[in-house]
Every structure is written in C-alpha cells, then in structure tokens.
Amino acid sequence: MKFRLFLSALGCLFFSLVSPAAQASTVSVAVASNFTQPMRAIARAFHQATGNQTRLAFGSSGNFYAQIKNGAPFQVFLSADAAKPRKLEQAGLTVKGSRFTYAIGGLVLWSSRPDFVKDGASTLRHAHFNKLGIANPKLAPYGSAAVQVLQHLHLYHRLTQKFVMGENIAQTYQFVMSGNADLGFVAQSQVTRHGKITQGSGWIVPANLHKPIRQDAVLLLPGKHDPAALALLRFLKGARAHTIMQSYGYH
C-alpha cells in the first residue's frame, strides 16, 4: 500500500512537472486515510473532467490538523470528522463559508470469517467472540458511532472488556482482517462494494442506531484564490463524485 502510494505520489509529481496542459494546475489535498480509495478514484475523474491534477496526502486527521495549524501548505482538507474542520475555521485558518459535509460514512459489524455474522445484534448479544475491534472512540468518528450502537443495544457495559482499539479505522480493520479479533466495527468503505459485503461476513449497521458519521471538507487559506482548489470542492459536491463515493459505501 505504502509503496503504491509512494509510486502514485511520484507519478503525480512527475506529471505535474511535465504536463503540458495549459491552464490546468495542481491542488494539494490532505485526505483522511479512511477516504483513500474513493479519493483516488475521484481524483482520476476530476482530472478527466477538468484537466487539473491533485497532489494527495493521506493520513490521520489529527496529524493534519496539527500540521495545518503549523503552516502546512495544503489547499484543501478532507477530514474524517466534522470537529477538526470546524476548529480550523474557528482558528481563522480556512476560507469562510467553505466548510461542507462531503461524505457520510457507514458502519459495518464485520468478521473475516464467512458466516460468523448473520444477525449482527444477536451476534453481539451472544458474545461468542474473543475480541471486539473498534476504532478509539476518543479519536475516530467510526469509534464513537460504534459506541453509540452498543449503547443503543444496551450492550456497551457488557462488552467493554472485549474491546481492542485501533487508533483509526484502518488499524481496526487490520485487527479483524488478520483474525486477531473475531469481530469489529469497521467502515462500510473497507468491506463493501456497491452495498455488498465483499469478504468475510458482516452486518451493515442501520444508520438510525448512531449519529451520522459526517466527514467535512474545508478550503484552507493557501487555496483561497486557487481555481483548481475551488473546482475540486465543486467537483466533490457533484453527481459524479457522489456516484463514486456511494460505490465505496459512503452516502
């Protein structure tokens, strides 16, 4: 993954240097790692539609927040939550009025074993599993959503003993994928395509069991008058980007 990321970053850099496209330019984007896959696809579609290039950096929203506060030259920030873009806005580091929800995440109770999860709520209730992987609810919106689901089902206090916590949803997925945790709450984007579980078994958690997992985007000051950055934000709100997001399990 890292290597492919490196190659594609190198590729982007190379093409941004040699690309003859007349007016097109490059937008520098900080992307929450849970949005890696759809953002790559969106960046390709964006390039086709507008000729503009994107330079994508993937990582933790908390790290990006610290970097942006300390002068990182990103033009657009796609956070994993709504809180960090709002805080940046309060600190005067964003273009006023540019903040919006670009994606709403979905949650899946997932196991890497086929047939392990049939009816998710009863799988949880019977508690025949060694560990329950969740993203750290203090840090990750997918984690706090998972806690809300458990509270809703009145299982939270019974199951805290079984928690193993990933720092983010990617790490939570690794715990479950490797079989170290029988079960875990992961992002729909990680285990579904076009609304179907692609591997193992899982329960797509009904959205009414938790608050919406809102992921907000914001235009940062270095992108203020940049036509390509503005075009990317417009593109993210458009139908084409939404089709891509939906195929990856975002709403």
Binding site: N136, L139, M165, E167, S178, G179
Partner: protein, 226 residues
C-alpha cells in the same frame, strides 16, 4: 492538574514492559553476542544481519507482520494456540515478544563488542587455571565486559520505553495491558489534548535524559579516554 490516573497507569505499564523485556533481552542476547564474538564462519554475517534488521525496518511494518504472524491465521499464532497459550496480540506478553525482537540489536551489539574487546587471551589463561567455560564466563568475561552488558541493558530498556509503532500495531490500546506511555501520548495529540500531551512528553523527556546521563556517566569508553 493535567496528569491523569490514566497517564500514570500508562507510565507504570511502560516501566514494567521495559523491565521485563530487558531481562529477557539479556538472557537471549548474551548467548547470541557470545556466539557472534567467538565465531568466524560465514554464518556470522547472516546472523548479524538478522539481528540488526529491526534497525532498518520501520516499526509499524514490523508490527503489522507480527500481527499477521502471531495471529490465529499465522504460523506462530497456530503454534501458540495449539499449546493452549492463545494468541499473543493484545496481550502484555505479546508486547514483550515484540519488544525483544525490536530491541535485540541494541542489546546484542554492545555486548558483542565488549566480549570481542576482552579477547581470547584472558580465557586461555583461565583455562590453564582449570576454569571451565561456564566458570570462565562468570568470573572472567562478565566482569571484564560489564560496561558492555550495562550499555546493552540501558539501551534495551530505553529503546523499549520509546517504542511506539510496533505497540500500536499489536497492542490494541487496552488500559493497563497494552496502553503504554507512547500510545497514551499519541492519543492525547490525536485528540488535540495538547496540554496533557505536553505533560506526558515532559516526563518522558526528563526520564530519557536522566537515563542517558547515567549511561554516559557510567561508561568510561563513551566518556572518552582520560
């Protein structure tokens, strides 16, 4: 006060982990160092390279593969399960195993250097005085190479305290079991709790400085020839 119960628990756990790992590192590292210091076969290069690998590999990469290897689908995980030990990730002993692998070069290399510096002559003399190899090790090598052992122990301990990526990958952030100080610090930063982060980081900085100060004060070789 910005120093919470959870921070304290994380520090105590870190010290327990580092102490356990250091003890095991000395037990495992010493025979390896001894063998490396006393053999001149082509296998020496291979073993040296394997021991030094954690210096090069990013800790998160090492942690990820340990997660796969020690997990229920991995060969080591299958072995520990069949022995009735369960699997190691998300346990204190899982972290110990990870720490031992990760800090091995920091313990083996100083001990190996120290044993090499002792040379074969004192051992030959000991042998003429009818000391067996075991006896010679305890009465000749250990005293003569003691700074190497001390350096190895302190470096192993310090490196385990500072370890982060590996613990992150195989720990699961369980309070009192796998949530060590470095992970707690990372959580503070990620949660934008910068005040708590500064406190915990301050404690680690002071601790690291004192530990290394002791190391350089004790070690006459590093202090320079006087």
């Amino acid at each position: 006060m910005s120093f919470s119960q959870a921070d304290l628990a994380a520090i105590l756990l870190t010290l327990r982990l580092a102490a356990t790992a250091t003890l095991l590192l000395l037990l495992i590292g010493t025979p390896i160092a001894w063998w490396l210091a006393n053999h001149r076969t082509r296998w020496k290069a291979v073993v040296s390279a394997i021991v030094a690998m954690p210096l090069v590999l990013p800790p998160t990469v090492l942690g990820f593969y340990l997660l796969l290897l020690l997990g229920p689908h991995g060969p080591v995980g299958k072995l520990t399960e069949s022995l009735g030990l369960g699997t190691l990730p998300f346990t204190f002993w899982g972290l110990v195993v990870g720490s031992v692998i990760y800090s091995l070069p920091f313990v083996v290399q100083p001990i190996q250097n120290a044993i090499e510096n002792v040379g074969t002559r004192p051992l030959e003399v000991a042998a003429t005085l009818r000391a067996g190899p075991w006896d010679a090790f305890w009465t000749v090598v250990l005293p003569l190479a003691r700074t190497g052992f001390m350096t190895g122990a302190i470096l192993g301990f310090a490196h385990t305290v500072g370890e982060f990526g590996l613990v992150l990958m195989i720990g699961g952030n369980i309070p009192g079991v796998t949530r060590v100080a470095s992970v707690q610090l990372y959580d503070h930063v990620e949660a934008l709790e910068y005040t708590q982060a500064h406190w915990l980081a301050g404690v680690l900085v002071v601790f690291a400085f004192v530990l290394l100060l002791v190391l350089y004060t004790l070690n006459p070789v590093w202090r320079g020839k006087q």
